[in-house]
């Protein structure tokens, strides 16, 4: 078995990682050879809201994953931190994060490069590349759409402890995927830098040869949102009208430095969209909490696709033998409101059942918490009641994870393009009609029967509980039961 290291650079990287986490939680399958994902988030904006949410989510996932004692299904793919892989938890600071831009924190770019101590000739050279605003930029909040700053600061990451731990933990069959945006600051700057370092054999860094000869995929997000102009135009630090120009410039740079003769990538995925949605203008930090977008979901699918493609990819002498270029498509190209049925056949097959399983689990619990008394005498509930106690699996971890998941779905529904895989408000008597465009089939003769009633699912839970092997680990029994019951239920709806 091997590992997949996923580098998420900047805010987009963090949001795609969030989508991937939900996919893994739902049981979307990576290639059979990969059983562990190691997320590595690179973002100098320590307080970035998107990053914080993703880190919380990954933390919850890891705790839940420990209870998933079955081969396939909900929460089975392992997610590990670098510190877990290296057994050097003490020496690495923040979980999942790489990049100790120690010099960049609480500092202006001018101070970071030691502008005042430069000779007048060097100052003149610097002035050619960086505007006055660039030089005075506060780097605590990232690079605010300025890749020219990012490329200088991010180049430090190769000196970080985390990067060394990453190299040491890397094994020959492991692979790497990099997610970044091409139109911002951190992602656009970080991606080519990271890739260059990954493909370079550094005799001072052990194991760098394995990394340099590994299979590497990457995804670059083209502009897929715009930023509102702030009311006080003087405070505008990010101008989304420049996104497309920056994207073009970056692509032009990539065509020579990454592709062409260099061939640094085995697979390259691009995603983009006619921009119609606007996010609030903010500099970063806690306020940067953009709503989830369908393209981030599609980006996570690209990572899944990469793992299934690994056997066809080849690397020789620190170069990809051939780069595979891929774009994402949907079946209903002109629609701006998507559901599972409008995805392409392959994507639908990959996500319909798993995502529906996870959604059903949390939707059912929403009703369970509203009407606890209706469930407390159900056999499965009596056996597993302790998972709902304060220190039980559900109340400690799954409840929060579920809230993140349901709001992630809601955010994708609100966005443009809207991804609307599940119906918004579903009453308990209609619970099983929760998948958009899918209705539970009505029974022929039993005209009095309501096949969409939530009690039908509760019955499956009871029935599966009856035949399941019970253990003392209630958390583990709970996950196994819901994995099987939701699978049976969703298959009966979507067949």
């Amino acid at each position: 078995m091997s590992k997949l290291y996923v580098f998420g650079i900047g805010g987009t990287g963090a949001r795609v990682m969030k989508s991937l986490t939900f996919m893994l939680a739902s049981g979307v399958k990576l290639s059979n050879d990969i059983d562990t994902v190691v997320p590595i988030l690179i973002d100098p904006d320590f307080g970035n809201g998107d990053l914080t949410r993703t880190k919380q989510l990954l933390d919850l996932y890891m705790k839940i994953n420990k209870k998933a004692q079955y081969e396939e299904g909900l929460f089975t793919t392992k997610i590990k931190t670098l510190s877990e892989l290296s057994n050097s938890a003490g020496s690495i600071g923040d979980k999942f994060k790489m990049l100790d831009v120690s010099g960049a924190q609480n500092e202006k770019f001018r101070e970071f490069i030691g502008y005042s101590s430069l000779s007048s000739e060097n100052k003149a050279l610097i002035n050619l590349f960086f505007s006055e605003n660039n030089l005075n930029a506060d780097m605590t909040v990232g690079f605010k759409g300025n890749p020219n700053i990012g490329s200088i600061v991010l180049n430090q990451f190769k000196n970080s402890k985390e990067y060394k731990v990453f190299l040491n933990s890397f094994e020959p069959d492991d692979s790497i995927f990099i997610v970044s945006s091409i139109f911002g600051g951190t992602g656009a700057a970080g991606f080519p830098l990271l890739l260059r370092n990954l493909r370079k054999i550094d005799p001072n860094l052990s194991n760098s040869k394995n990394v340099a000869n590994s299979k590497i995929g990457a995804l670059s997000m083209m502009p897929y949102f715009k930023i509102n102009t702030p009311t006080d135009i003087a405070n505008q630090t990010i101008d989304s009208s420049s996104f497309m120009g920056k994207a073009k410039a970056a692509l032009s740079f990539y065509s020579n430095s990454i592709f062409g003769n260099n061939n640094q990538l085995n697979s390259f995925y691009t995603l983009g969209e006619d921009v119609a949605n606007f996010y609030e203008h903010n500099d970063g930090q806690a306020a940067q909490k953009n709503d989830a977008h369908f393209l981030e979901f599609a980006a996570a699918l690209a990572i899944v696709d990469f793992t299934w493609d690994l056997q066809n990819l080849e690397t020789k002498d620190e170069k990809a033998v051939q780069t595979s270029f891929k774009e994402f498509g949907i079946q209903a190209a002109l629609k701006r409101r998507l559901s599972f049925k409008t995805l392409g056949g392959k994507s639908k097959k990959q996500v319909l059942t798993p995502m529906s399983k996870l959604y059903l689990m949390f939707l059912f619990h929403k009703h369970l918490h509203q009407n606890k008394k209706d469930f407390e005498k159900s056999p499965w509930h009596i056996h597993l009641e302790e998972v709902y106690s304060n220190d039980g699996l559900y109340d400690q971890y799954l409840k929060d994870f579920g809230e993140h998941f349901l709001s992630w779905i809601q955010e994708m529904k609100k966005n443009d393009i809207a991804f609307n895989p599940f119906k918004s408000e579903v009453s308990y008597p209609k619970l099983l009609n929760f998948i958009e465009d899918y209705e539970v089939k009505k029974p022929g003769l039993k005209f009095w029967d309501n096949p969409a009633d939530g009690d039908k699912f509760n019955k499956i839970l009871n029935s599966e509980y009856k035949t399941s092997q019970k253990t003392d680990d209630k958390g583990s029994d709970f996950l196994k039961l819901f994995d099987r019951a939701t699978e049976i239920q969703v298959n009966s709806i979507t067949k």
Partner: protein, 138 residues
């Protein structure tokens, strides 16, 4: 079996020798015994297997017991009342009580005795055939 059930009923009845003899001769004590076992078996089977109601509630089990009790009472009463050996005396005041009140007494005690098979078969059906009510009422 007729004697065994007769002894059980007679332990609790306000006893009347003549009525009791008629019931005994017609083997109706045995029939009452069979009813008070069979009816809870069937009623609770229907409750635990085809209906198996949700949400699981204790009051639903009590309603089922009530249905079983009413069915048993009516069956017992009808059976005893329509017994041909019982007919000649049904309107006679033979002792302190009428045939009807003796019949009512027997039907009532049949219902009381049916609590035992009701509980026993609730336990058996809940543990074997039921999916949702496997823990109702125990």
């Amino acid at each position: 079996m007729n004697d065994w059930f007769a002894n059980r009923f007679e332990d609790f009845l306000i006893y009347d020798q003549q009525f009791s003899d008629y019931v005994h001769k017609a083997h109706d004590y045995q029939m009452l015994g069979i009813f008070l076992i069979i009816i809870p078996i069937l009623v609770f089977f229907v409750f635990y297997k085809p209906i198996d109601p949700q949400p699981v509630k204790l009051w639903k089990w009590f309603v089922t017991f009530l249905i079983s009790a009413v069915l048993l009472f009516l069956t017992a009463y009808y059976w005893l009342y329509s017994n041909s050996m019982y007919n000649p005396i049904q309107n006679e005041q033979m002792s302190d009580m009428s045939a009807v009140s003796f019949t009512l007494q027997l039907s009532f005690w049949a219902v009381v005795f049916s609590i035992i098979p009701a509980l026993l078969f609730s336990w058996i059906w809940s543990r074997t055939v039921s999916i949702n009510n496997a823990k109702n009422p125990f």
